[in-house]
Symmetry: C2
Subunit: 420 residues, 2 copies
Amino acid sequence: MNAHMDIATYMQTLGRQARAASRLMAKASTAAKNAALLAMAAGIRARRAELLAANAEDVAKANGLEPAMLDRLTISPKSVEAMAQGLEQVAALPDPIGEISDMKFRPTGIQVGKMRVPLGVVGIIYEARPNVTADAAALCLKSGNAAILRGGKEALRCNQAIAACVRAGLAAAGLPETAVQVVEITDRAAVGHLVAMPEFVDVIVPRGGKGLIERISREARVPVIKHLDGNCHVYVDDSADAAKALKILENAKTQRLGTCNTAESLLIARPVAASLAPSLCAMLIAKGVEIRGCAETQALVPQAKAATEEDYYTEYLAAIISCKVVADVDEAIAHINKYSSAHTETIVTEDYTRAMRFLREVDSSSVMVNASTRFADGFEYGLGAEIGISTDKFHARGPVGLEGLTSQKWIVFGNGEVRS
Amino acid sequence: MNAHMDIATYMQTLGRQARAASRLMAKASTAAKNAALLAMAAGIRARRAELLAANAEDVAKANGLEPAMLDRLTISPKSVEAMAQGLEQVAALPDPIGEISDMKFRPTGIQVGKMRVPLGVVGIIYEARPNVTADAAALCLKSGNAAILRGGKEALRCNQAIAACVRAGLAAAGLPETAVQVVEITDRAAVGHLVAMPEFVDVIVPRGGKGLIERISREARVPVIKHLDGNCHVYVDDSADAAKALKILENAKTQRLGTCNTAESLLIARPVAASLAPSLCAMLIAKGVEIRGCAETQALVPQAKAATEEDYYTEYLAAIISCKVVADVDEAIAHINKYSSAHTETIVTEDYTRAMRFLREVDSSSVMVNASTRFADGFEYGLGAEIGISTDKFHARGPVGLEGLTSQKWIVFGNGEVRS
């Protein structure tokens, strides 16, 4: 109980400091923010040996971690350089803060429009990936926010070493060191406090697996930019160009198996099922992908196993794809709106009307025509950086760049006008 | 317990129907939505006698209601006509849904941009004001959402009569009648279910007093577009034009005492306190406004009472104003960012640099230069309609029009591109 009280006090102190720092960050000049980012990059390069040593200690103590997690925890000279370059890239992005738009005169004489402003204090909760510390700090700083970072406990030493570079960079640019704070308490209760301090924290961005994000969403008393499943679909319409369908499906399913924008389900229009399903599935099978299909798929593709209802809901993140023959674009849209996780879907078609209907009626964060689902990504969309991919509709949807960490306030230029 | 189970089942049924209707509303044509709105307006005019009779029954049964609430509950032939006109005005607004913007080619060959889409299902919770039923239904319908409306139990009969007109209008336009549903259970538990069904409801808009909104925010498991206090400030800078200051303060404080954009606090820069405080306060006192000031104010304005710390946090909604002499624009900004409810603030100044600093550094949803705080309003800002004024930063900030009930999905036009 006493320890619990201490954690609460500690988190409140971080929160209070972050709120105070956020006021200064909101008005920081673009030059100061960029200078801080470049100083951090230089600091990370200069202290490469220290970062690697701290990480080696983390790795040595991380007993019983799964190989994949151990891989993400471990940094190399190359990943240190990547961190530094990431900071420089964020410095090169345009500053979103203070941007004034849509200033229009009203009949009353006032001129009304919007100014882009930071959200305030961003809490980032992530797993044992030290690079997220530098990356998240950079995005929050550039967007004029203060950040409280809570990384996986296995990476604590390395995170502290990176945080020291971040603080030194802030100080070098004359910005408050408390603009980026790393939670140094590894107790899980710290997260519980972080997500439940609306007076100090404006938004939580969890970066990690579905379990982490669901837990945080349940506990949070502030808005959460959520990134849940990517159960993405490729729908091959009966007017599809067969070559495009093959190329898009191959890329969408097999370029990388474990990403959220990888296709997990293939829908084929009945009129072309007999002509296209065998070749499309043969390509996937040749690449080691298991097909789980409906009865019609199985009749056309003997290697296909039977798909269960559950399969159509599943994000495999593995060499498996569900497959279904559908009557037409109507059934495809209905199937997607029922089973999809609303991440990314693509239609392969040469038919204008069906393309436009698919775009309008599919209720997902990214909807594409004749392009691979793998393009659903902040960098591919030209955002320059990505804090995550939102599977919510509220505030930000799909890939979230710096703008997702901002809001717009209304501004009014007057000359003594009053309301009548 | 059994009754409780029944309410849960009832609310789930409404939710399921709303979710299904929302799919149809999302793809409804602009013509159909406008036809429905115009049919509703015609229906409300045609059934005016029924609405007034239902309302008279509501009023007769509403024992012990405060006079102000009774006033809001009561409708007249004039307010029935206003409802019909409101529906026609929403029909005349541009349709925000399907709007495509920012389509840009990327180096990969894909063209990426955004399409505006409905949020899905909107839950509106309001007090005993029958006009909100028509108004909220119209805004949700035009923005392609389905709505579940839960009005105050005192207005149930009139709300049901209005809902019948709404359903008839939907049916006349070939749209699903379940696109707008009125909760007919008056038990408070219905609200608890409505705000905790994320599978069926995408956002809650509470329209009512602070108590209602705080309670709903605490219980909600979906996003809430909140409208809390309006503790608005007028800061008279030492470079203010005295005539503008007098005119703006008079309008901001005294045009209407009970609105959220009414000024509740006056800050005056010390260099002009002696010259301006007496005349500004004399104007307010002449209009019956009580001054609660700091020691300096009291020295300059003998009628001023002493302000407590609490006064500076207070939204009076009454003929009272707090007043403080501050050193300069820095202290004014710091005072506002501490005490304000972040609704609307205005600076009166002829100084360019201070005007720009005030605009940038004051963290409120509307920040003005030389204009009355009373302008903070969806209609005055040119939104055409207003579902509320958000005091949050997330999703929507300040006056919220149709756009606040929408989101944007990403759309991609390709020609067979794949990611490399």
